[in-house]
């Protein structure tokens, strides 16, 4: 009963959040300067042409009326038609979403792996030079934003030492057997590891750029929590039982130290998804972020709205997932 109530409450707050986001985006992009119709028409177009096209897209009506029309459409699953591409917004967005999701997931995986390993090593060798080196590395990784890491990586592994691809999602000359846009997942499922390799070679640089700052945050916070937990009585008790330091860290301390990090990873992961917008541009990666920039440049109002709503849905979904993980890791929350 309690669970059902909690889920319902969650759904209601999510709906309110999404409505707020929709409202703000809708009004803001209509208030900022720039006219999508003017960008579509050739220089010689007359005022009458402009007026006709404006009416066609409904942009002559008042903003609240426009919002009403658009939002009733959205409730029926109709997000309108992109002004520049003349395709339904929903289809466009869903086409580009898998690329961004795969990139973010890979970045998150790399960040957790690198950050977690650094935290564990730093805790195991606390007080030594290794820990000091990890702290210095964290500081460096944190003081440079993701897109600059992207540029650094392009320079290092794309230009000076060309180990990886730095443009696009996959080599264009390859023929693709895929039926969905989750290329990476599908290549593994279809056992086409040659394609997996090519995809990863394209994805690893942008994913690293996104992952490095997050890895540093994870490493810093997790190491901090681990060191705090290492002073607690049950850890000391485990030591008296004959367990070694590594076992004590992994079995006794880690499950209890991971909670604050988990919350932070949830919050930071949403920032990471936000970071894909610029990173995808930098690496010409055909995802949602890249499309978002094009949409903004072309003042493609329906497309911008669709993308922002989708981002908002992803953010709330990630937060929900974090809360569920929290309950899994902390038995004290399970019945609360």
């Amino acid at each position: 009963m309690r669970l059902i109530k909690a889920i319902l409450l969650r759904l209601v707050t999510t709906a309110v959040t999404l409505f707020g986001v929709a409202l703000i985006v809708f009004f803001v992009i209509r208030v900022v300067p720039g006219n999508p119709i003017a960008m579509m028409l050739p220089p010689g177009a007359t005022d009458a042409d402009v007026a006709r096209l404006t009416a066609l897209y409904g942009l002559d009506k008042s903003i609240p009326t426009q919002f009403l029309i658009w939002s009733t459409g959205v409730l029926r699953g109709d997000f309108g038609v992109s002004i520049t591409n003349r395709q339904p917004v929903l289809a466009l967005v869903l086409d580009h979403l898998p690329a961004t999701l795969e990139l973010s997931a890979l970045a998150l995986f790399i960040a957790v792996f690198l950050g977690g390993t650094a935290a564990l090593i730093g805790t195991r060798l606390r007080g030594t030079r290794v820990e000091a080196a990890i702290d210095v590395g964290n500081g460096m990784a944190l003081s440079v934003p993701d897109f600059l890491w992207g540029l650094v990586l392009i320079l290092l592994f794309g230009v000076l030492m060309p180990l990886f691809q730095i443009s696009g999602r996959i080599t264009p000359s390859l023929t693709l057997p895929f039926s969905t846009n989750f290329y990476l997942v599908e290549s593994v499922v279809r056992l086409r590891f040659d394609l997996t390799r090519d995809l990863l070679s394209h994805m690893i640089m942008p994913a690293m750029g996104l992952a490095i700052p997050l890895a540093a945050i994870i490493s810093q916070l997790l190491k901090q929590s681990l060191k705090e937990v290492m002073h607690l009585d049950y850890v000391a008790l485990a030591r008296t039982k004959g367990y070694g330091e590594t076992h004590v860290i992994l079995r006794e301390a880690l499950p209890n130290a991971v909670l604050p990090t988990l919350t932070l990873v949830g919050v930071q992961f949403t920032f990471l998804i936000g970071g894909t917008v610029i990173i995808e541009r930098l690496f010409s990666f055909e995802g949602l972020g890249n499309m978002a920039i094009d949409a903004v440049i072309n003042r493609d109002l329906p497309l911008i709205q669709g993308i922002v709503i989708l981002f908002a849905v992803i953010f709330t979904a990630v937060n929900l997932l974090v809360d569920l993980c929290y309950a899994a890791f902390n038995p004290r929350l399970r019945h609360g």
Binding site: Y234, T240, K241, G242, P331
Partner: protein
């Protein structure tokens, strides 16, 4: 030979103050020895030194800790840990923080048996059941599957006692095991520890600041002040005729249930000054 024999053990904060000043102490097989002193006297530090859980900022400067004929301080870390894990166990002070909150109770009792001593899982689980019954927990199956937060403080201390006796250790160090408990539960837990000790014939080093507890549970006791051994005596001898002025002052400072209106006597200044002089002399001898 004594089961546990500490010889001239000195411990200090790294590059700083000394915490134990050439402490020597023996525990015979099956003996129950009280280790008493004010807070800061170093009584818990002795327990930590034996079990190898001294804080990182603390180091052993000199001395020997013989456990069953082997000097622990000469062993490399891994064999030392294993030896301690097999021969000794700890009953910790605060049952609320001494169980891992994210693990079920059962594995926390059987872990040492399976991981360190190489028991088979069913054997270890049977042993855990047997022990929980022995510490008078009647809903054994349910408790084994519980997380610590689902149990009361007294219940958790019973589990920790069961866990300490799990591997039939020859020495148990009880570090103020009743301090964090309700007065009503304290008595039951004390009786339980005493009963378990007698039944298993385990040597027990009972760290406490409560002389009343010592008189009930222990056979012998060691009085500490400032990391120095002030007096060693049998419990009977100590309570009848304490030798050291500090011991007499401690006894006088203990509230008596029979005379609740009697004023509590602080330790006289002269006694404290004499002790501080002794501590200073020990440090001069050390540096000298």
């Amino acid at each position: 030979m004594s089961f546990l024999s500490i010889r001239n053990l000195s411990v200090q904060l790294k590059g700083g103050q000394r915490l134990l000043r050439s402490v020597s102490l023996d525990v015979q097989p099956g003996e129950v020895r009280g280790l008493v002193g004010e807070s800061g006297a170093g009584k818990s530090m002795i327990g930590k030194a034996i079990l190898g859980t001294l804080p990182q900022a603390v180091e052993v400067v000199s001395g020997e800790i013989w456990l069953d004929g082997v000097d622990l301080l000469t062993l490399p870390p891994r064999p030392r840990r294993r030896r301690i894990g097999a021969l000794a166990a700890l009953i910790p002070q605060d049952p609320l923080t001494a169980l891992n909150p994210s693990r079920r109770v059962g594995p926390q009792i059987t872990g040492r048996l399976i991981d360190i001593l190489g028991w088979k899982r069913p054997e270890a689980e049977a042993r855990a059941r047997e022990l929980l019954a022995e510490v008078q927990i009647d809903v054994v199956e349910r408790v084994l599957r519980c997380y610590p937060h689902e149990l009361s403080g007294g219940m958790r201390q019973r589990i920790l006692i069961a866990s300490a006796f799990a591997a039939e250790p020859k020495l148990i160090i009880a570090d103020e095991p009743t301090t964090a408990l309700d007065v009503t539960v304290q008595k039951q837990i004390l009786r339980l520890i005493a009963g378990m000790q007698a039944h298993h014939n385990t040597a027990l080093l009972f760290v406490t600041h409560d002389l009343g507890v010592v008189s009930k549970v222990c056979q012998t006791l060691t009085v500490l002040y400032g990391g120095l051994v002030v007096e060693e005596a049998t419990v009977r001898g100590f309570f009848n005729a304490p030798q050291h002025a500090y011991s007499r002052a401690l006894l006088a400072a203990t509230p008596k249930y029979t005379d609740p209106d009697a004023s509590l006597l602080p330790v006289p200044d002269a006694v404290v000054q004499a002790l501080e002089a002794q501590v200073a002399a020990a440090d001069r001898a050390w540096h000298g």
